[in-house]
């Protein structure tokens, strides 16, 4: 196992370096001088030269590249041009917002997607059940998350006035209360803050969750179809076990193994989804930070955000690979 872990790490590291190189060079061919973007057209040549020097842009590209890799490895992404404080600090503040969105929408996706997939597979011979479910899945897959988000906003925020139109709630406050122990000394305040966060989270999580549920339901459907035709399911039925036991005890657990392998893909899709979801709902988070940074030509911030996105995806894939080895011992690794 240890050898396997090490081998996977050996593959992941060059992949990460490669991905980071792509980010670095893409950011370097961006049109426009970051200093001009930061200081405006009116800046004097002296000021611009100073700025270039401060940002280290006067050094040879190769030196900048090695420096970037070395600093990124230590989570030092430089200083945001617009905000004026370290990118890593900014990312640290935004990360929890994106994390709760990904978690909440994953819960929605699993709760909606897995049952739909299972029922659709089991009832595949009754078109009245399978067909509508598959159509729902297909619609979810085809519906852009930003459109669904806007429709939810129109109905639930503007017309019915149930949910807030923008913002992410006071998540920083909740985290602060947890850190300082205030959550336990004044639980009423804490619960109110959590309620506020959930209130802000509902619509974004539903929008992103529903589009993700489509992917999950299709995968669970095919995983269930695969499992249900196995010999051990027939054996279970032959033993006279009820359909419920067959499905929940035998099929469901085996179905989860192939689902596990797509968690990596799922996280990638969910993270991409947060870029759009956070923008639609004007929620703070890594995704919105990235879009804003690109719009403001804040290169260190954009570069940092993309690097963190990539790091998360590669890390999750690594973890999934390992989980897979634990869950399915039949798999031997070369």
């Amino acid at each position: 196992m240890l050898q396997y872990v090490l081998r996977r790490l050996l593959v992941a590291v060059p992949m990460l370096v490669g991905a980071m190189s792509i980010v670095f060079f893409a950011m370097r061919i961006l049109p426009g001088d970051p200093c001009v973007a930061m200081m405006g057209d009116q800046a004097t040549t002296m000021a611009l030269a100073d700025c270039t020097k401060n940002l280290g842009l006067h050094r040879p590209l190769a030196v900048q590249y090695v420096d970037y890799l070395w600093r990124s490895a230590q989570f030092d992404f430089g200083t945001s041009l617009r905000q004026g404080y370290p990118v890593s600090e900014y990312i640290g503040r935004m990360f929890p917002h994106t994390l709760v969105l990904v978690l909440a929408s994953s819960v929605v996706a699993a709760l909606v997607g897995i049952p739909i997939g299972i029922v659709s597979a089991l009832k595949r011979r009754s078109p009245l059940i399978d067909y509508p479910l598959r159509i729902i899945a297909l619609l979810g897959l085809s519906m852009p998350v930003f459109w669904l988000g806007i429709l939810l906003l129109i109905v639930f925020s503007l017309r019915l006035n149930i949910f807030p139109l923008i913002g992410g709630g006071d998540l920083d406050g909740v985290i602060h209360m947890l850190r300082t122990g205030e959550a336990f000394s004044s639980p009423a305040d804490f619960l109110a803050a959590v309620g506020d966060v959930l209130h802000h989270l509902t619509l974004p999580a539903l929008a992103l969750g529903f589009t993700l549920a489509a992917t999950i339901s299709r995968l669970s459907r095919s995983a269930m179809l695969e499992v249900i035709s196995q010999d051990y399911i027939r054996t279970a039925r032959a033993k006279g076990q009820g359909e419920r036991t067959v499905v929940y005890k035998h099929a469901f657990r085996n179905m989860m193994v192939p689902l596990l392998t797509i968690i990596g893909l799922f996280v990638a899709v969910a993270l991409t989804g947060t870029v759009l979801t956070e923008t639609v709902f004007t929620r703070p988070g890594l995704g919105k930070m990235l879009v804003d940074a690109i719009g403001a030509r804040d290169y260190p911030l954009a570069q940092g955000a993309i690097t963190v996105f990539t790091m998360i995806i590669i890390f999750v894939n690594l973890v999934v690979d390992m989980l897979y080895a634990v869950v399915d011992p039949r798999i031997t690794y070369r």
Binding site: P14, M15, L16, G18, A19, I22, V23, A26, M27, I29, L30, P31, R124, R125, P127, L138, L139, L141, S142, M143, P144, F146, W147, I150, L151, L153, I154, L158, L225, S229, R237, A268, V269, L271, T272, V275, L276, T279, V280, V291, I294, G295, A302, I306, F309, T310, I313, I314
Partner: protein, 300 residues
Amino acid sequence: MAISRRADPLDLSVALPGGEARRSIGGYLRRWLPLGIGILMAIAMVVLAAAAPLIAPLSPSAQYSDAVLKGPGAVERHLLGTDEFGRDILSRIIWGARVSLQVGLASVAWGFLLGVPLGILAGTRGGAVETAIMRCADMLMAFPTLLLALIIVTALGGTLVNEILAIGIALTPNFVRLARSLALTIREQDYIMAARALGSGQLRVMARHVFPNALYALVVVATLYIATAIRTEASLSFLGLGIPPPTPSWGNILSEGRQYIKCCPWITTFSGLAIMVAVLAFNLVGDALRDLLDPRLRGE
């Protein structure tokens, strides 16, 4: 000790008289209906895009100062209403189909052209070539399609050609992977050995034998990627990184309409609907083709 397997105990029911006919009609519909609907929708979209100047009732950029932010049908000539500049939404959506379809088709073609030869080369040659190609593909795969397209479009600037380039490159690793895995299976076939025995060179084997046999599956998947490309284009435009206004694209119509969702939800509703219908069309076609061609699902 092979035991012949019946697919499912429920299969017995179809042997009943009348069941056969019911099943065959149901099965026929089930197999061809989604494909038919999808193809019809896709054709409708192509016609819409190609004949936009003929079909669109008004010019997409003409501003009607007497009809600013009017709802659907409020002014007779604007069936789906107008935007903040008094431009006709229906006409803009019809013209927007051009951008979506051009990006959808061209970027998939570009990704296909880049990815498939590399994938087939990797799968057929093996060795260091395969490792090098696949590691590069893995590296690009670390980025989700939208994120990679976003990086490239940001670097190159948002124009139609750059969008096509960016989305095509973002799709490339998918084609590399698929073509490689197909090539890996195909290269073990007897006809490949026969071709080799007859003296065919590596290139000839790849071009004349591996590629045509992989084409089937590649095209099916390419159809599904058209849907992905259209959605990615709309997402980029929505984020303000795609084709800049005033050229209408569904994503930028929706993005502009976002500021007016309180008073004028029709702008975002109809442009979003257009995106969904287009993506749905190609998803339906791709799905149906895959179900038809995948032998494991044929009996379903």
